[in-house]
Assembly symmetry: C2
Homo-oligomer: 307 residues x 2
């Protein structure tokens, strides 16, 4: 994501900050996946294969940028940043399974069930979900109370389950071969992708001790808008993106007869809507003032990306 | 489990207590699965189909009996009791998938992927896992501190992930077609089945405010011994049980070339070992005195059952 920008508005400083978030989460995830359990080396290898070495790390970056903007030390953000990425990767591994989207390529490599096998891929997703909650409950998070950790677990469980990602995926499965309204597509995207992206923003705020009031309302709105914008841009890239740049096959949505934003509203309207959501996300940050400059730049990156 | 006993040692009072735990958890699970999310009715129905109306409810019963023995009010035990059963059912739904054990029958009914479809069954397991953590983080648990809840989530995540159930399942997959030593079988069973059973005992203790000392050490031992005893008895029933009584096909382990306790040590040695573990579990309860009478009776039920 950081490597390819089309509008040239992101500063070199900001891109360096994003790159440093990406490097930091890589090492945090590596440590979280150093599992000592003998007899499960293949499972561990498949988990590491699925998680490490690739990915835009948008969700952890949101945790870091939000938390830092509000004054949280980086070390306190590692656990929530890792947790959201572990949930995200588990969902990719399961979504790629033959019974779901049946995809062969992900992040430029064979999908987990192609590189290993289906049973292992099912277990990888299952174990990554458990690990996400384990990390939030276990890892050092200096200066964070048990109440705040519990609030984080509550948010993550909600964003992951039927009210969020899993529910959105069920809607997505049910939609195959059907025509949806634009409103129904937006609802599906808000749950399948948006809930976890919004959760990432809110976990960063919680880690900074911001739990309620105008700042949380602003960040909830910001997270919801960029969550939807991100998925619409994903749909657009599935139509017109470069598979080499994306690291996954394009045209998959159409091949699966999945209704998407572009297939429903058209490409031009999709681009307009993504820009509108980016602007609404940036506008939502107003109560945070100058502290939110990084988040505003990230909102631009989310829409003006080619991978 | 409560309906069929072979040794006649369980009192009518105790059986009534087990039946009341089973009835109580049924209504708690029903409430937890009353999900309002529109558009995901099929997922919700498949979750309810998988969880409600059947099952021995051993794990919730362990939470209730342990917690009650140590003085916790029943209402405080509902959330952990529901959480362990939701994790257990998620593991059954995923284990039954074609890429795993490929089973058609479970608890006397079609398995989830046969009654619905594979994609739905994958999502059902995923969503049940998230719900288990949501229940522990959200539900009222009067008189339980945030620290204690966090400790519960920590234990549950450990019992569920690579160090417990998911790791044990990976060992199980790797063992297909191989000969294992009795020690390796025991290790696999302790992780795949034992970890969550032990966790159920410990969650009951945590809810009662018992966190360390001789009582916890006794309950850890007790949980470990009955966890292994339970799985050995499961292996025995897979050889000589009645499919109508069990509600699932027998002979599945042999058909899948899975090494089991009986296939490795023989049936007679398996029965001996299960009895030995039952006795060790009961002996472990000694520091708890008369309060542990119910747990001791449950240890007998676990081994002397025909379903």
């Amino acid at each position: 994501m950081s490597a390819r920008l089309t509008d040239g508005t992101a500063s070199a400083d900001f891109l360096a900050r994003v790159a440093s978030c990406q490097a930091r989460i890589e090492s945090v995830l590596d440590a979280a996946l150093t599992l000592p359990d003998p007899g499960t080396e293949r499972l561990r290898d498949a988990m590491r294969y699925s998680v490490l070495g690739a990915g835009k790390r948008l969700r952890p970056t949101l945790v870091y940028l939000t938390g830092e903007s509000l004054g949280a030390p980086l070390a306190r953000l590692d656990a929530p940043a890792a947790a959201v990425e572990l949930i995200h990767v588990y969902s990719l591994v399961h979504d790629d399974l033959p019974a779901m989207d049946d995809d062969d390529l992900r992040r430029g490599r064979a999908t987990c069930h192609r590189a290993y096998d289906e049973a292992t891929a099912i277990l990888v997703g299952d174990a990554l979900q458990a690990l996400a909650f384990a990390v939030l409950a276990n890892e050092p998070m200096l200066g964070t109370s048990a109440e705040t950790r519990l609030a984080m677990i509550r948010l993550l469980a909600r964003a992951t389950g039927t009210g969020g990602m899993a529910g959105g995926q069920a809607v997505d499965l049910a939609a195959v071969g059907h025509t949806l309204t634009v409103a129904a597509i937006e609802n599906m995207h808000r749950r399948k992708t948006g809930a976890l992206i919004q959760c990432s923003v809110l976990l960063g705020a919680l880690a900074a001790g911001v739990q309620q009031g105008a700042e949380i309302a602003a960040l909830e709105r910001f997270g919801a808008e960029i969550g939807l914008a991100f998925q619409i841009q994903d749909d657009i890239l599935d139509v017109e993106g470069d598979p080499l740049v994306l690291g996954k096959s394009t045209g998959a949505d159409a091949a699966h007869s999945k209704p998407t934003y572009p297939s429903t509203a058209g490409l031009a309207a999709s681009r307009l809507r993504a820009g509108e959501l980016r602007d609404a996300a940036i506008a939502a940050l107003e109560p945070l003032g100058a502290r939110a400059a990084g988040l505003a730049q990230l909102a631009k990156l989310v829409v003006d990306r080619s991978s």
